[in-house]
Subunit: 99 residues, 2 copies
């Protein structure tokens, strides 16, 4: 395995509805069909095993750093981030790494 | 793909040396050989693309929640967490999810 992996976690703001969370996941799930730079795209809502866990994580794989940057700045991605994720985000944690 | 994924990020405490970080990664990398419940194990140090990023992430895959719990509580894992990771951790973020 090689490439560039982007991992991001979110803690949703108090009052965020299940519907809003499902909407984010559904919209993100459309991105691999729109952004060919995405090689792998996996996400999930926290299973409730660890106290204090964040609420949601996305693991996205790219060929290299430049491919990740194409994704990061892609209008279809920005629309979800700015329009759907940012308004319900209380906390965000991110790491990107070369594989 | 199905199973149970554990994703954890760390921000290291100020003063943590490169040697300490490499030691953690090297010791964790031995765990798949010691804990058969580990189906996938990938980790990396942050590439420095995103301001405010955490320093390190681990993505670990298991057959199910119970297999994850075996890993979580395994003495070889606990020894690294308690002896090597906890002393240098400033912040930790975690999500586990069903795939």
């Amino acid at each position: 395995m090689s490439g560039f992996r982007h991992v991001v976690m979110f803690r949703w703001a108090e009052g965020t509805t299940t519907g809003q969370q499902e909407d984010v996941a559904a919209r993100l799930s459309e991105l691999p069909g729109l952004i060919p730079e995405i090689q792998g795209y996996d996400m999930g809502a926290d299973a409730g095993v660890s106290p204090g866990a964040f609420d949601f994580v996305l693991v996205a794989d790219f060929a290299d750093r430049d491919a990740y940057l194409v994704y990061r700045d892609h209008p279809a991605h920005r629309e979800i981030v700015d329009g759907r994720i940012a308004p319900i985000t209380a906390e965000r944690a991110v790491v990107q790494y070369e594989r």
